[in-house]
């Protein structure tokens, strides 16, 4: 009887539990096991972490949950505010990637792509209805108490909030 190919080649990767045996921290904050390793192995050098600034990758940036009512609204610095229509050019929402090499592994990249594509545009739909995919808000709109919370939170809601209440959500 022929065995499956993958069975023949299979190597079973077993975790070495010895590494995980609990040992109390010494007075220095190292575990006994770690300390013993250090003093018994003269070749092993202590790895000291040097601080380096956090990565700020030059990516294609996406503004999330864009809303006209928030843009150019009541901002605390209106004197320096540049209205979106005035000086900003068409490519402002997207910054071209830097020429520096990207360091992400392919695995991370594929893991990231569905999230990366989370864009501010919602689907264009025939008619007004919007499918709520995984419904997040839980409201019983026929409950007067809830209506009160939602439609007139304390203090009075800004216009954008009222729009939300009618079911449009963040657009």
């Amino acid at each position: 009887m022929t065995l499956p190919e993958n069975l023949k080649k299979l190597i079973i990767p077993i975790v070495d539990l010895d590494r995980y045996r609990f040992s109390p921290p010494g007075s220095m904050g190292w575990s006994e096991a770690e300390y013993e390793e250090l003093i018994t192995d003269p070749e092993r050098t202590i790895q000291t972490e040097t601080f380096s600034p956090p990565e700020v990758p030059q990516e294609e940036w996406v503004e999330l949950s864009v809303s006209k009512d928030r843009a150019g609204g009541d901002l605390p610095f209106s004197s320096e505010h540049e209205r979106a229509s005035d000086t900003v050019d068409a490519s402002a929402t997207v910054t071209p990637p830097d020429k520096r090499p990207k360091q992400r592994s392919p695995e991370k990249k594929s893991k990231q792509s569905p999230e990366k594509k989370l864009e501010q545009r919602t689907e264009e739909l025939p008619g007004k209805e919007i499918p709520d995919r995984e419904k997040t808000a839980v409201l019983e709109v026929n409950d007067p108490l809830i209506e009160e919370y939602v439609k007139s939170p304390n203090p009075p809601a800004r216009p954008w909030l009222a729009k939300q209440v009618t079911g449009r959500g963040y657009q």
Partner: protein, 355 residues
């Protein structure tokens, strides 16, 4: 990395940040890295008129949207909180690669102290305001909520199981001082924990859970005084780290435990005064307070300390430091006993305004 290399890397870093800032309608004059750890980094952005903080997090955009949306909601509802600054097109935050960025006003103020009783009462009143202001929040379609309501039993159960697990580990090492101390107190703590778990089996909890979900209200993920400041004599929230949908009792339990932990003893009178301040702004029913008492009965701090030790969470702590902290936690948890036992009296007093 030597000094020169470091300077260069910082300069580059600041230049990189400027590109991020181009998505905001501000004119930055200087950028300075303030902190970076645990996947979160913060830069101070100075402009002619105001200062801002840019925060970078390695987090799913949908999760950040939930938090930033909550932040916006709170400020629109008038809570004294550092203002979130939208992007040029009114976005709540900016996503790029594995990171998400959020910009908010930098605030100056006086630090808040765990040891100032008046301030503690004000903080509780502020917390009441926070909970009120959080009502009506409807997270955007693309945000991912974090919900803890309805998960209390599960969480309690898990923590108790973890304690039982650690008992086994402790028994293996009879010479370890921490383990000895742990074994001396764990059964009592387990007893309290199981009692609390049973107490959760009440219709009042389900009712409150439903009410909370329907109202849209939320809590801070991990309430800490470090994010509060006193600005123009009022309590002000400098930074909204994270939020979670949970019963308001969560924030109250976390804060009370933190305060009393610092004092190393449970101060009943202080606890009642603090709760009264909260109640005046956001009143809870006696039944709801009973649930808070249950949550305070559960040995959260004890579990947390044990978890840290057996999982080696605090890299820099030596055995002495663990022991010292553990002793303090045990002292505090044990001194809580009278407060827990006389819950009905205390709840009555706090609602009546008497001591």
């Amino acid at each position: 990395m030597n000094r020169q290399e470091y300077s260069k890397s910082i300069e580059q870093n600041h230049r990189d940040v400027s590109h991020v800032l181009s998505h905001y309608a501000i004119r930055p004059e200087s950028v300075r890295l303030i902190s970076s750890r645990g996947g979160r980094s913060k830069w101070l952005i100075e402009t002619g008129q105001r200062n801002f903080f840019l925060r970078q997090e390695q987090i799913r955009p949908s999760r950040m949207l939930f938090i930033a949306g909550a932040h916006w909601h709170l400020q629109q509802n008038g809570l004294p909180i550092a203002r979130l600054i939208p992007t040029r097109n009114g976005g709540l935050c900016l996503a790029g690669g594995e990171f998400v960025y959020v910009l908010y006003e930098a605030s100056e103020g006086v630090p808040v102290l765990y040891y100032d009783r008046d301030q503690l009462e004000e903080i509780m009143a502020f917390t009441g305001q926070f909970h009120q202001a959080s009502k009506g929040y409807i997270p955007g379609e693309q945000s991912k909520k974090r919900t803890r309501t309805g998960k209390w039993q599960k969480l309690y159960r898990w923590k108790l199981q973890e304690l039982e697990d650690h008992k086994k580990v402790a028994l293996q090492d009879p010479d370890d001082a921490f383990s000895q101390l742990f074994l001396a107190h764990v059964d009592r703590m387990l007893e309290r924990g199981y009692e609390a778990l049973n107490e959760l089996d009440t219709p009042e909890l389900s009712e409150w859970t439903l009410e909370t979900l329907r109202s849209g209200m939320f809590c801070q993920q991990d309430f800490t005084l470090a994010r509060m400041t006193v600005k123009e004599e009022h309590m002000f929230l400098k930074d909204l780290h994270s939020v979670t949908i949970d019963l308001p009792a969560r924030d109250l339990r976390i804060l009370l435990n933190k305060v009393m932990r610092k004092l190393n003893v449970w101060d009943t009178e202080l606890a009642i005064r603090m709760l009264r301040s909260y109640d005046q702004v956001h009143p809870l029913t006696p039944a709801q307070y009973r649930i808070l008492w249950t949550d305070l009965k559960f040995p959260h701090l004890f579990c947390s300390m044990v978890h840290k030790y057996y999982l080696g969470q605090k890299q820099s702590w030596g055995d002495e430091k663990y022991l010292m902290n553990f002793r303090n936690v045990i002292a505090m948890e044990e001194s809580k006993q009278p407060f827990l036992e006389q819950s009905e009296t205390h709840i009555l007093h706090l609602k009546e305004g008497t001591t």
